[in-house]
Amino acid sequence: MKIGLLPFLLLVLQVSCITQEICDDDSQSELVARFKTIESTITSDTIMSDVSIHGIREGQSDSLLYDSVSTSIILLPLDPNLEQSRFVLNMNKQNDTLVVTHRNEVYLISYTCGFATLFNLENIGYTSLMIKDIEIKDSIVDTELLQDEEHIWIYY
């Protein structure tokens, strides 16, 4: 008798488990860059002041990502439409251009949140008015941003 009632109990449990699904995950993949100074062979974290950044978007007007901020870390969205993202970094009234070359892979975050782009960093080119060097620390840029995750170091 008790065994026969088991399917009924399971149906009740199944119905009671139905919940509304809400997306809590971020669907934007952003490159994390940390500013560093390099003095002879010693590197250290630094806060850059009066930093403005915009992306170079073909056929679109420039739109600032950062506007005269003081920061040690910047988050840069990469272009999922192309395999290259270009940025202009303005510091102390001097512009440096950053060219990030990446491979793009679209992947499913979840059935609730939909798709996002995974960027695999291949190369970073730059002008060197202010920038001394750039080092790739982690070449995978996706929506999951772990604590202390940094993709590139920009040396001044």
């Binding site: 934007q28 679209v106 798709f115």
Partner: protein, 220 residues
């Protein structure tokens, strides 16, 4: 609800019919038993709707030991705000059931079984019009993504089966399933692994409610 009431009836019948009746044939009937899973049809009302069918064949090859072979097909399709998705394919499971019910009358064929299955599914899934957001650079729409996949899983099975009239059985089973290759598609986790269930979970439960007919080849 028909499944539930049918299962309750089959369970009650099992309890009543396990007692030997006076003048009953004491020979045991042997032959392949062919079943169809009726619970599959209820999945049409699931969200997303799942269309499929499942057949099984088993036979008592040795005392209380039943090798089992199950085959099926299922398909889902859903249209969403962020993307459209479909998946479908066929599957097969093979395993063994062991009957725990002690036989007081050899002509009675009810059973309470425990067993296992190994399952393989060959299927494909497809994403269309996937929206990939990029607030700064501009959103991307991916037209089509398709992949042919193979799923493997293992099941522990417990079930109950009642012979409601000679050679005609009703029975249900509960299954605990472990997906052996949940990373089969690194870009899009399949929503459906036919025969297993939701590919987004590497553990899951399953339920069947089946009607069977045993082809009586011989008695012994």
């Amino acid at each position: 609800m028909k499944n539930i009431s049918g299962s309750i009836i089959s369970s009650l019948l099992l309890l009543v019919l396990t007692q030997p009746l006076a003048g009953q044939d004491t020979l045991r009937t042997y032959g392949p038993r062919i079943g169809i899973d009726l619970a599959r049809f209820a999945y049409i009302f699931a969200d997303p709707s799942e269309i499929g069918a499942e057949l099984s064949v088993d036979a008592e090859v040795y005392k209380n030991i039943f090798p089992v072979f199950e085959i099926g097909y299922c398909y889902i399709s859903e249209t969403g705000d962020l993307f459209d998705y479909s998946a479908g394919g066929s599957y097969a499971r093979a395993g063994v059931d062991y009957n725990l019910l002690s036989v007081t009358d050899r002509s009675v064929h009810h059973s309470i079984t425990v067993g296992f299955r190994y399952g393989v599914s060959l299927f494909s899934h497809r994403v269309e019009d996937a929206f990939v957001p990029s607030a700064y650079w501009g959103d991307v729409i991916v037209d089509t993504y398709e992949n042919n996949l193979t799923g493997n899983w293992f099941e522990l099975v417990g079930g109950l089966m009642t012979e409601v009239t000679p050679n005609l059985f009703l029975g249900w089973s509960l299954r605990y399933k472990v997906l052996l290759n949940p990373e089969m598609d690194p870009f899009v986790t399949p929503l459906l692994v036919p025969g297993y269930g939701r590919g987004t979970a590497d553990r899951g439960f399953g339920f069947t409610y089946s009607i069977f007919y045993k082809i009586p080849l011989f008695k012994r």
